[in-house]
Amino acid sequence: MILRGRVWKFGDDVDTDVIIPVRYCGGTDPREFGKHCMEGIDPEFHKKVKPGDIIVASKNFGCGSSREPAPIAIKMTGISCVIARTFARIFYRNAFNVGLPILECADAPDYIKEGHEIEVNLDTGEIRDLFLGRSFQAKPIPPFMQELVRDGGLMNHLAKKLRKQGDQASEKVSGG
């Protein structure tokens, strides 16, 4: 799958309180989360983002809370993918669980600037900066996480697994 979009740049240690403050997390309407995304850095962020845009950040993106509204808020703004040097571990899990693709890349954040148009190949991890005419290689998404993305997140993946188990069980019953 190839994504193409304009880049929004962020620095080190973008935390979940900045991505979405907890006071907006009480409800479960995901559209509301998007309106407050990155409020601590730029309250207008959600208005500026166009569908398909891509966040490129530095290290430890998503540190802090385990709140799942964080990756959901980013997704709701229309952001299609986040690239960072490293991600905080709970955010990493949550992003795949809610279907927001993320890629770890050591050098791309040094060169890609805000406003650049980039292309991301989620299967291979290749990132192409169309403005610079230069490619970067992100760590490929581990096969297990790719399976999650293909199934549409963790719960859909589980549902599929449960259905399979159910089918096998009923086959056994009918077979003997």
Binding site: G26, C63, S66, R67, T86, I90
Partner: protein, 422 residues
């Protein structure tokens, strides 16, 4: 090659002889915890899938602790959904307002989380339970839903990082200062994806309250979990509390560590973490004149009885400075009762502090002490990110309870030596 305590616990829960860092495993869950912010989202997930079942009603713990007693209609609705879910599935460990506490203080206190357990919680500070020698880690709502439904979750076995503390602690220095100092040393991603294993003679002497504080903040260094070897201190703490048998694991002497860090604690002073990262630490002696509007003593990090005793020691015969608010929040009903029986409330009230019912409240900018634009607080909580306690232009400084209490008296960040009368 030996294994670390973290690796042994994960191996034992995934039916493996041994596991190594990087292995993807499916582990059985002993306890899955959710609170009033994470559980309703997990329930939503169930509803979307048309599922309404739990893997084991004894192994799920639901605690409304963040915005409770409900602060507004939205939080009341969230609590109601969680309460109805608990009722419908006859969840054994559901703690209503009146018997609840901040989950990470309540679960150890009730003996629900035990050595050798694998615990997941819909809260990043779930790593607190590592103090008891459990593998405990925070997850989001989808993972929480999966754990509640299946009793299993996938993990990547983390590398372990060993921290060794030598020497003798100075007066007024406790677990909070050790962990702040450590995070100041390695940074907020210094233990990213890793297990932090706390060891050394200082740790052996550290009471359970200090261990809980340290494990609690492992996440602030990016760690997957923080962990302590169970020992006599652990056994003494669990006596009369443990609700079921448990198994003690220890790291092998030839276990492999990604990194080992050693500290001489004799030189460590009380620490203050400046805005806006827990790693921006300074020793109290290097903190210049920083006025404060509010002090908060409480939270899953520092709301236990030991923390309140220290605060009382500093506040005795002192008064909170004019125009400053001191908010004290016992972490559980039991801590509340104990503090009252020990006469600590008299000292707090005389000092003009307010005492709140247990809640996470101000730590997350939820309620019970939200900051206005430009305001500054010192707090015994665990995070000082932009906007954490309220307005994006407010500031939070992190410290131990003694420093927070002394600062409330002085109206500026101050060490306990400046005000304590005993």
């Amino acid at each position: 090659m030996g294994m670390t305590i973290t690796e042994k616990i994960l191996a034992s829960h995934s039916g493996m002889e041994r596991v190594s860092p990087g292995d993807l495993i499916n582990a059985k869950i002993d306890i899955a915890m959710g609170h009033d912010l994470s559980t309703p989202e997990a329930i939503d997930t169930f509803e979307r899938m048309g599922i309404d079942q739990v893997f084991d009603r004894e192994k799920i713990v639901l605690v409304p602790d963040h915005f409770t007693p409900s602060k507004d209609i939205k939080s009341a609705e969230s609590c109601k959904r969680m309460r109805e879910f608990a009722k419908r599935h006859r969840i054994t460990h559901y703690y209503e307002v009146g018997e609840m506490g901040i989950a990470h203080a309540l679960l150890p206190e009730k003996g629900i989380v035990l050595p050798g357990d694998v615990v997941v919680g819909g809260d990043s500070h779930t790593c607190t339970y590592g103090a008891l020698g459990a593998f405990a880690t925070g997850v989001g709502s989808s993972d929480l839903a999966a754990a509640i439904l299946t009793g299993e979750l996938w993990f990547k076995v983390p590398e372990s990082m060993k921290f060794v503390y030598h020497g003798k602690l100075q007066k007024w220095v406790d677990g909070k200062d050790l962990i702040l100092y450590t995070i100041g040393d390695i940074g907020v991603d210094g233990a990213l994806y890793r297990a932090m294993e706390f060891t050394g003679e200082v740790i052996e002497r550290l009471p359970m309250s200090g261990r809980l504080t340290m494990a609690n903040m492992a996440i602030e260094a990016g760690a997957k979990n923080g962990i302590f070897q169970p020992d006599e201190v652990t056994e003494a703490y669990l006596r009369g509390r443990a609700v079921r048998p448990y198994r003690r694991f220890e790291s092998d002497t030839d276990a492999l560590y990604a990194e080992v860090r050693e500290y001489d604690v004799s030189q460590i002073e009380p620490q203050v973490a400046f805005p806006h990262l827990p790693s921006n630490t300074k020793p109290i002696s290097q903190v210049e004149n920083i006025s404060i509007d509010q002090a908060v003593i409480g939270s899953c990090t520092n709301g236990r009885i030991e923390d309140l005793r220290v605060a009382a020691q500093v506040l005795r015969e002192n008064k909170v400075a004019p125009y400053v608010r001191l908010i004290i929040i016992p972490a559980t009903q039991e801590v509340y009762r104990q503090a009252m029986q020990e006469g600590l409330f008299e000292i707090f009230l005389d000092a003009k502090a307010v005492i709140s019912t247990p809640t996470c409240g101000p730590c997350v900018g939820g309620h019970m002490g939200v900051l206005a634009k430009g305001e500054r607080a010192i707090s015994t909580t665990n995070r000082n990110f932009v906007g954490r306690m309220g307005h994006p232009e407010s500031e939070v400084y992190l410290s131990n309870p003694a420093v927070a209490a002394a600062s409330a008296v002085k109206g500026r960040i101050a060490g306990p030596e400046e005000v304590a009368r005993s």
